[in-house]
Amino acid sequence: MLDCGAALIIQASEKSSERFIASQVRKARAKASGEDCPSILVVDDEVKLADTMTEILNLSGFCAFTAYDGRMALEIAEELQPDYLLTDVVMPEMNGVDLAIAVRRQRPETMILLFSGQAGTIDLLEDARAAGHSFDVLEKPMHPLRLIEHLKRMRLR
């Protein structure tokens, strides 16, 4: 199993620095291109959850990147062109469903998995489905290994 090493984590306090984000993304892309591992962008406004998930994915053969909100994720995704997007659904400003739709528009091949722990998810998903967008959804809490199994199954489809 590949180990991409330490996670690239963009701290919440540094969110405002777009230049910083861009530089991190470029570094991330350089690192990812040197490794034969699928890239995955982890997006969650719960910092600890996003950080630990990124670390676990890095330990499990993925090259994982982190964002703490939808807007930041969209910027990183534009540069990164990730193989996977793993995103929380209910987030301030830009929700996970809108992010997923935007990322899919940017790069249709990106495999998108929504990871939700909120009751409001159902309505958001139904709205998206009505608009022709369908996504895989997993419910929090879920053991990280189950989540990884799901990601791997998505790749086999």
Binding site: E46, K48, T52, L59, L125, K140, P141
Partner: protein, 429 residues
């Protein structure tokens, strides 16, 4: 007194108002001389409450408008009209003297309580009153005799075969020509169905409230729980396998995983969207069994499996994992030690449809059949506790939404052992 059948349905202009009017007039024989002429009996009283005489239709409250006019007086004498209405009423109407001895008994009373008129006239009213209410029933008659007005009340009465019937009762005085109270007219309206619906509503409201609370609690802790799961997993990955801490963390991880599944099961609404996976159904079952293996073992439940499904099926893995987890968790909660569970997953064809069938056969010593009969009732109380049947009823909804079927059947192979089978059929899309 001659009784004429009144076909109310053919007289749309005839309303409860007319009936009430006629009733009042009939109770005053002096104002209705031809009534006395038509009858050899002295009219001493009359049931003055008429309600719900159109069976199955909208319930009409008795009206007492003074301006009511009887239609077609030539065709219906008020006495025969009233007798006919009482006799054809959907409500039980009977009269008693002041000691509680029954003096008349209509057709609906026979239907409601199971006694024909000739078996009840002359008998005590207490025959249809539960023992614990005997004193109260006689006390009501004394209150009526003293001129007190009795409000309508809801109570329980006894049928001939000992069943309870919930009724709304109105008791009115019967007066003789001098205005003395000489008896009581009793009207009993069957409210069993309304009461049943009320209980269902209360239960479903309780269920909804419980569900809302569970959802709120669950959502508040989902994110931190996911973080804790991740931290524990990372801590274990970073601890030397030979150290005790490693095994502790492994245990903690297992327990957290269990908590996660319980939350999802209690929360109940898990519904996956997006693409389905082509999997063998037994793979999903095997994973759920692996999660509950330790608990099944600790509960003394024996498990046997036969996997003979040879085709993959397109399903949402996590939805079916939830269904199987719910069934297993409920089984652990309900089944006694020594129970056996057998799982057979096979290719099947049901009603021209091909699919995969999972038959779960259980054999349980000392398990009451009704426990299984209530398996899908939400919040069913079982053995002094509450099952997690929110999950099981949701599981059925989930399966049916996906075009699958689930059925429970049970039988007792002996007085000590109950056999049951849960069958799930998932058709190929």
């Amino acid at each position: 007194m001659q009784i004429e059948r009144l076909e109310c349905e053919h007289n749309p202009g005839f309303t409860a108002r007319h009936v009430a009017h006629a009733t009042r007039r009939a109770a005053r024989p002096a104002s209705f001389p031809h009534l006395q002429e038509a009858s050899s009996e002295k009219i001493e009283g009359m049931a003055s409450v008429i309600a719900d005489f159109k069976r199955g239709g909208r319930k009409k409250e008795p009206q007492t408008g003074a301006d009511a006019v009887l239609p077609d007086k030539a065709r219906y004498s008020p006495a025969s009209l009233l007798a006919s209405i009482v006799e054809s009423s959907a409500d039980a109407i009977f009269s008693t003297d002041l000691s509680g001895k029954i003096t008349s008994w209509n057709e609906a009373a026979q239907q409601m309580f199971g006694y024909p008129a000739d078996r009840m006239v002359g008998q005590s009213l207490l025959r249809i009153v539960p023992t614990e209410q005997h004193t109260l029933a006689l006390h009501d008659l004394r209150r009526l005799e003293s001129g007190e007005k009795l409000e309508r009340f809801e109570t329980v009465r006894l049928t001939r075969d000992g069943q309870h019937v919930e009724v709304s009762v109105t008791i009115s005085p019967i007066k003789d020509g001098d205005g003395r109270i000489v008896g009581a007219a009793h009207l009993a309206h069957d409210i069993s169905e309304r009461k049943r619906m009320e209980r269902l509503l209360i239960r479903s409201e309780k269920l909804a409230a419980t569900g809302r609370m569970a959802a709120t609690v669950a959502h508040e802790i989902n994110n931190p729980l996911e973080s804790v799961l991740n931290f524990v997993y990372l801590a274990r990955r970073n601890s030397p396998p030979q150290e005790k801490a490693h095994s502790y963390l492994l245990s903690a991880e297992g327990e957290l995983d269990r908590v996660s599944q319980i939350i999802r099961r209690v929360l109940g609404y898990y519904s996956e969207t997006g693409r389905q996976d082509d999997v063998f159904l037994h793979e999903v079952l095997a994973e759920a069994l692996a999660v509950y293996q330790a608990q099944l073992h600790a509960s003394g439940i024996l498990v046997d499996c036969r996997y003979e499904d040879h085709r993959r099926i397109s399903i949402h893995w996590n939805e079916f994992a939830q269904v199987f987890s719910t069934i297993l968790a409920d089984s652990i909660q309900v089944l006694p030690r020594g129970a056996a569970l057998r799982f057979d997953v096979v290719d099947a064809r049901i009603a021209e449809q091909e699919g995969i069938q999972l038959a779960i056969r259980l054999r349980a010593p000392g398990l009451e059949r009704e426990v299984l009969d209530r398996a899908f009732a939400p919040l069913a109380a079982v053995q002094g506790g509450i099952t997690s049947s929110i999950g099981l009823s949701v599981a059925r909804e989930l399966l049916e939404k996906r075009g699958a079927q689930i059925q429970v059947s049970s039988s007792s192979s002996s007085s000590e052992v109950t056999d049951a089978q849960i069958c799930i059929f998932v058709p190929f899309a």
